[in-house]
Structures are given as C-alpha cells and as structure tokens.
Symmetry: C2
Subunit: 223 residues, 2 copies
DNA sequence: GTCTATAACAGGATAGAC
DNA sequence: GTCTATCCTGTTATAGAC
C-alpha cells in the first residue's frame, strides 16, 4: 500500500522554499504532512523519511531529533502567519478596512496552509522546553497586532467593543480554528471563508445603532 | 515525582458518574486527564492505570484496548455536549434568547469540561473506523440544532444572516475552540466567557440597522 | 478483579560501509 | 550524504498466581 521509495510530498507549501539543502526541505514537507495527518506522536521517523524518499537514518543528518523537525515547522509556520497578519493590519485605510483585511488574510492563510497550520496550532504541546517558550513569544505578537487594531477602532468610535481583550481572543480563536475543520474538498474556497469571516467580525465590533433584537433578555436570560 | 500508587484523578467530571464499576470509571477519568494533557498517542496505558491507582494489566479487564477508552470518552462527551446544546436551544423564548442561551451553555460546557472537551474535539482522528462514524453522527446533530435556531431567526427577521451554513460553522467553531485555549487559571470564568460569546454571536446575526462603519471599503478592500 | 512477570513488537536514534 | 543493519528503550497486551 504505502510505497517506500520515491519522494512523495503532498504539501506544496511554499512557506518552506527557503529551506536548504533540498533533502532537508523534503523531510520538512514530509513531516508537515505526516504530523498534520496523524499528529506528532503517532508519526514515525520511518514514515517521514519514507515520504521524503529516504532511509530513516538519513533524517538524522539534517535534524538531531524528531522534535527538531516539529520545531522548525512550528517556527517557520508561526513566522509566516504573523507576517501575513502584520502586513494586513499595518496597511493603510480605516480601522474597519484594516480589521477586515487582517481577518481575511489570516483566515485565508489558515485554510490554504491548513496542513502546516494544523501542526502549528495543535502540536505545541509536543515542543521541547526551550522551543516552546520561543514559539509562545511569536503567538503573543499575533495577539498584540490584532488587539492594536481593535483598540484603535474602539478609541476612534469606529468600533464599539465592551471587552477588548476578550474580543481579541474570540477573533483569534475563530481564525485559528479554521485550520481544524477546513478541507480542500469542502464547499468554500479559502478566500470565501476569509471574506465571510471578515464580515462576521466587522459585525461583532460594529457600533450598535439602536435596533437590537426585540426579544426579551437577549443578552443574559435567567437560569 | 509521579507516584504510582493511590488513585489520583484530577478531573472531577461528573459526565462519567454513570459509569460502573468504580474501577472502570476511575480508568476513564484517568484517561481523560492523560489524553487531554499529552494526547492519545503520547499517553501510555501505564500512565492511565497509574492515575487510577492500578497496575497496567488491570486496565484490560475493563477495556479491550486503549482506543476503546478513547471511544467511551468521546461518546459520553459528545452526548453530553449535544444534550447541553439541545436543551438550551429548545427552551422557549425569542430566537435571540435561544441563540444566546445555546452559545452561553455550549461555551460554558467547553470551558468547564475543557479536559474532556479537548479529548472530544481534538482526538477524533485516533478513533477506530467504525467508532469514528458513530461520533461524526453526533457532531452532525450539534450542527443541525444550531442551524435550526439561526434559520428560525432569519426567517422571522429577528436575525439577518447572509450565509446560514457558513455562519453556523463559524459559531460552532468559536464555541469549540474554547476547549483549546481555556485555562482555569485564566482571567475569566466559564460563565463570563459564555456571556461574552453570546453577545458577540448576537451581534454577528443582528439586522444591520444602517449605521455601518464609515470607513471606505469596510467589507472588501482591494487586495 | 487485581497483581507480578513477561511475551511480542515497534519506534527513535546510532554505527560503519559506500 | 545516504544506505543497511542494529541497539535499546519503552509499549501494548497477555498469562497465571493470589
């Protein structure tokens, strides 16, 4: 069933195109696929090497341990996603425009690179001690970028946000979870999801004119 | 560090109180903790048995395999979360009230039972073939319940939703992801998060009076 | 039902030839 | 740099005493 020769790496993830030499990159791409499919712990080094068309031993020329492979993926992936978010948020325009762009691009990244994103978002716990700390710092930056946009819009009155930290968390969460459920065979393209989500998020922060739902206790019913 | 005697099960998760005999329940609770902390594949049967204050062999009297433990957790957990959602959504009141209640309770469940929820939401891929199908059916039910509320509110004009399936997915996603990031040592209680999220979701679906963001290209700025 | 002991095997990582 | 062969550890699951 699973042929063990000839490189077969499904992920055409250009995030790793800077990695050299070629064998190291193939291993990284193989690891991304394997980790995304089965999780870090369930993936064997034999599997990774096989996907790269190499013997198990060859892996250790390029990476000291399996965990180092995970760390590289996590680092490059986080750097990419942070830079996508930063570029979108730092571009000009109104805060609404910046927020919509940030959400659209961040979501799109998580869908288009859902294999990488899945590893990045769901295998953090498998990182070694020092490595984990380094990654957490990158995650903190994402959150700060997004919070900056929300704060700016709230201050100018363009948004109306009761709980900025909580809303930041919710928006991040919404975007990140795309990596969990997205499938290329699903109904929507990454861009469609990004556009839909940008709209939903703008609604979340839009000032409430006055016409709020007519029903009783819309915010906090009893019980 | 890790003592191997005496039952020590952290999760006081009442979801499993119906499980008998006592040893089987302790094993299940130990497995929930272990799977949530380290993931299914990284968890050893020694660890699970140890948490239940038993020897590794004793586990196999109550469960045929490690996967069967996962299946039981997943099944009971899904049943619980579906019933929490169903009760909240089926209660009376306006559609806004029902939606707010559904989100608040569903989120609260994912926070309060974040160990169980983490296993339920993130270890699906480790389930055996037949077991996986059974669980997917339960997940489909959750989605249908939520979609029902959104459809009802949209039809009556209480909500204004452009893309019902997409919005259903987004709301589910938002709630589910709480299990990933929630920590009991965080700033917010499960109920506070539930209330915040219910408010954000109501905003997502509220009719847009007219006062939308003043900035140019709020919805879809050029690239 | 639980224990101790162990079978049977898989996986991470290394040695040394090419 | 890559391969084949292998070491060694740790894992699931079982056998048989109590």
């Amino acid at each position: 069933m699973a042929s063990e020769a000839e490189p077969r790496v499904a992920a055409a993830d250009e995030s790793f195109e800077g990695v050299t030499p070629d064998a190291a990159r193939r291993l990284l791409l193989g690891a991304v696929d394997a980790f995304a499919e089965r999780g870090f712990h369930a993936t064997t080094t034999r599997d990774i090497a096989g996907r790269a068309g190499m013997s198990p031993a060859a892996l250790y020329i390029h990476y000291k341990t399996k965990e180092e492979l995970l760390f590289q993926i996590s680092k490059v992936g986080h750097e990419r996603s942070v830079s996508v978010l930063a570029e979108a948020a730092e571009g000009g325009g109104s805060d609404s425009g910046r927020l919509a762009r940030a959400v659209r691009h961040f979501v799109r990244w998580h869908a288009e690179h859902h294999t990488t994103a899945r590893v990045v978002q769901y295998e953090l716990a498998a990182l070694g001690e020092g490595h984990y700390e380094e990654i957490v710092e990158l995650r903190r930056r994402s959150e700060e970028i997004l919070r900056g946009v929300l704060e700016s819009g709230d201050a100018s009155g363009e948004f109306e946000i009761a709980d900025i930290r909580g809303t930041t968390l919710a928006v991040m969460s919404l975007c990140i979870d795309v990596a969990r459920w997205y499938s290329p065979s699903g109904r929507r393209t990454p861009d469609e999801i990004g556009t839909l989500y940008a709209d939903l998020v703008l609604r979340m922060v839009a000032p409430q004119g006055d016409a709020r739902g007519p029903g009783p206790g819309a915010g906090a019913g009893p019980r």
